[in-house]
Symmetry: C7
Subunit: 94 residues, 7 copies
């Protein structure tokens, strides 16, 4: 099991969508467009200066958008994951 | 549904206004001129160091000016949205 | 109406003064010389880390000096305004 | 009247002293040498994160040394002033 | 014994995994891919601004992923160790 | 009198020591080597975010080492002084 | 005596170890490898924003590893010392 530290979250990134124009597959490389993934594990959170610990506002199974330049790619049991800070999560997609 | 995280806000950006001079359409590319949009969803807010959570000072339906270099472009259900931090919202337009 | 967010202030900038030397109008482009304007609207303020909200120390109608490189230019109802952060207001001119 | 905002102070800068060597006037342009001025007006101060407002530690009439690269030059009623942040005041000269 | 200071942690880094393609050993040099190690010693922690000391959230024997560009390489009793800040630990691997 | 502001300290810098090799005087320009001086005046201190004022930990007459790139050179009554921030004082030499 | 200020510590650095390969002495210049020294004097500490003073977590006589790019080299009574901030001390070596 991967247990992320601090305000980190482990994600299973989704395949980037591809668009086809007349059968030609185009890579989606728009600048600043976040990528989607599913939350696999959530860290215990970060500390505020008053001593309060703030857990990330997402939970296992959440489908999220995250900043595509964020995080560390990790390989675990033959599968690839991404570990990102909570601040790099943009939105939950229901 | 897109549920923005932290102090983020989801916006539906408006078409940039165009100006015509003698029938010629001119792109509006003034430096530092904010762009307008409508608030579609509002995050729960950010934490102050005393543990207090501060929600963004806008609500769904608000028409806002935002810093044009801010935010992440997002595509959801075939529509484009912009997710920006509250600090990049400049003003509400009534 | 334009309702500035956070510690922002909406200003109606004044025409930069021009100086003439022998009838020739010279643009005033002194480095770091602030520009003047009139306060049109004031945001609700920013939060301190103790949770206190601090409103900008100016009010509608105040004549102010502001840092000329600050702010976002905004067009509203055919008039141009400037939205600046309180920290970029230098002084009130009575 | 010029009423400086925040922790700013309005100064009337003094003429930079000149040195003569054999009758030749030399501009004083030593790097990092502060310049002197007289305090004309003092802002209300800045906020600490505990909500306390801290006024600048100088008063009208004080003769001060200030960092020569600091501040905004201002023209008011035909006279030139300098508006500087308290942090750029180096010392009071008695 | 090596006793790390502040929020530092002493790690025994593991050999980077190698992949073979047709018998050829390939160095694993993926950008931003964290490296693994075992926690050997843990510092007493860092201070929050409220005076509270926060110990690192790992303990001796934990198997961790860490940011590969972090830390100081140390040689002690003929063995190599890595000393990293807690913030550069990405996740615990069970 | 020079009364330093905030956490500043006025120093009378000492002559940099010179070394002679075979009678040739060599300027001492070692990188990052602090310089020595005597404390002439001490500011009232800086504010912590809890409102407490912290005075510099040196007193008049102290012989100190300071970071050689720090401070503002000041001329007062025909003598040269250096005004430095407390943080640039390295040690007291007894 | 050298009395370090704030969170500084005075160290007596040890000779960098040298390695010999076939009798040839090789300088040890590994990037980011900390250097060792003995603590000679410890400052009173730094202030947290709650007014608490935090002393460095080392004491006279401690054998420490420190970041090799840190600190100011000081000469005192004909001996060379290094003055470093506590944050640049990496570990205590027992």
């Amino acid at each position: 099991m991967l247990k992320p530290l601090g305000d980190r979250v482990v994600l299973k990134a989704e395949q980037a969508e591809e668009k086809t124009v007349g059968g030609i597959v185009l890579a989606n490389n728009a600048k600043d467009k976040p990528t989607t993934g599913t939350v696999v594990a959530v860290g215990e959170g970060r500390y505020l200066d008053n001593g309060q610990k703030v857990a990330p506002a997402v939970k296992e199974g959440d489908h999220v958008l995250f900043d595509k330049y964020a995080g560390n790619e990790v390989e675990y049991n033959g599968e690839k994951y991404l570990v990102v800070r909570e601040k790099d999560l943009v939105a939950i997609v229901d």
